[in-house]
């Protein structure tokens, strides 16, 4: 994916490790509320950190993962898309794709939640990363793509849930 060439080999910190309690964080929901650590309680959450709404790989990723949303739900797992885009952009992205994955915005203070999870790219956007958090608020599994241009298969999420 040559379009992402400029960000290759610039990885610094890595995604939060399994066994770590989820950090305190605040993300903005599309309807105006907040999504925080407390919202993780009692359910398995899959945070899908993605670089940019409307970019090609992120478009493929949301569409692909939306196809397995039902299977994830049957395992008690809920998908959330997380980016530094504004809520309006995320909503437009979700509506254009026709997907149902809730979008959470790390727009202001920009990237603060991404930093807390170890996935803030020096270029000013989230690394492409997946974090599964168990109902007790502890990271069960995490994955960071080698490059933001690489799309992790949905199979990896199911592997992570089964671990």
């Amino acid at each position: 994916m040559h379009a992402w060439g400029f960000v290759r080999n610039t990885l610094g910190e890595r995604v939060i490790e399994p066994g770590t309690p989820a950090p305190e964080f605040t993300l903005a929901r599309a309807e105006g509320g907040e999504f925080t650590r407390e919202d993780l309680a009692g359910q398995t959450s899959v945070l899908v950190f993605y670089p940019f709404a409307f970019s090609p790989v992120c478009t493929d990723q949301m569409g692909l993962y939306d196809e397995v949303r039902g299977e994830l739900a049957s395992r008690g797992a809920t998908l959330y898309g997380v980016s530094c885009d504004a809520t309006w952009s995320q909503t437009a992205f979700r509506e254009q794709l026709g997907v149902s994955i809730e979008q959470l915005s790390d727009f202001e203070p920009k990237g603060e939640t991404c930093r807390a999870f170890g996935v803030y790219h020096p270029g000013g956007f989230p690394q492409r990363a997946l974090v599964i958090i168990d109902p007790d608020g502890v990271v069960k599994w995490s994955y960071q793509a080698d490059s933001p241009g690489d799309l992790p298969g949905a199979n990896l999420i199911f592997d992570g849930l089964a671990d």
Partner: protein, 171 residues
């Protein structure tokens, strides 16, 4: 509950759609009929001496008509015309609405009432889903993805890879 964890691309079975010389190298396409790059790959493979299997990988958000086209191809397959419908679908991706599917079914001489019932049936839906899930488990993330020589090739496949496969070697 469906198992979608990682697994290799499944080997061919009796349900698979396969064409080409039996002694040629096998390639498996994960594709959908609304995907323009899939149509291009299909045309390129048609010029090659390869044994081809087609598996469905429809993603609604990218290609909203891909699922119905996939089901139409399976319904045609139930009347022995999968590949004929496959070719007609890829030949005109701008016309994939119901009347266009019925027109193709008529052109192929299918029993139209049976075609229409079959393409909406649970059996056909499950058949398409089976292919899709095998792709998910193998790590397919986009269309087209070509499985060849034990490796997945997402997106555009180099001519050199096809030539190597045609010669019977691993790319």
């Amino acid at each position: 509950m469906t198992e979608l964890g990682s697994a290799p691309v499944p080997p061919l079975d009796a349900d698979d759609h396969v064409r080409g010389a039996e002694d040629a190298t096998l390639v498996i396409e994960y594709a959908d009929f609304e995907c323009p790059f899939c149509a291009v790959l299909s045309a390129r493979l048609a010029d090659r001496l390869l044994r081809r299997a087609f598996r469905h990988f429809p993603v609604r958000s990218s290609h909203p008509r891909a699922w119905s086209a996939a089901c139409a191809s399976e319904a045609a397959g139930a009347q022995g015309k999968f590949w004929e419908m496959h070719d007609l679908l890829f030949a005109d991706q701008g016309r994939l609405e119901d009347p266009h599917l019925w027109q193709r079914a008529r052109e192929l001489g299918l029993d139209l009432a049976r075609f229409d019932a079959d393409r909406r049936s649970e059996k056909v839906l499950a058949r398409v889903r089976q292919d899709f899930e095998s792709g998910i488990r193998a790590g397919v993330v986009t269309t087209p993805t070509l499985w060849a020589g034990g490796v997945l090739h997402p997106g555009k496949v180099d001519e050199s890879v096809l030539t190597t496969l045609e010669r019977g070697a691993r790319p």
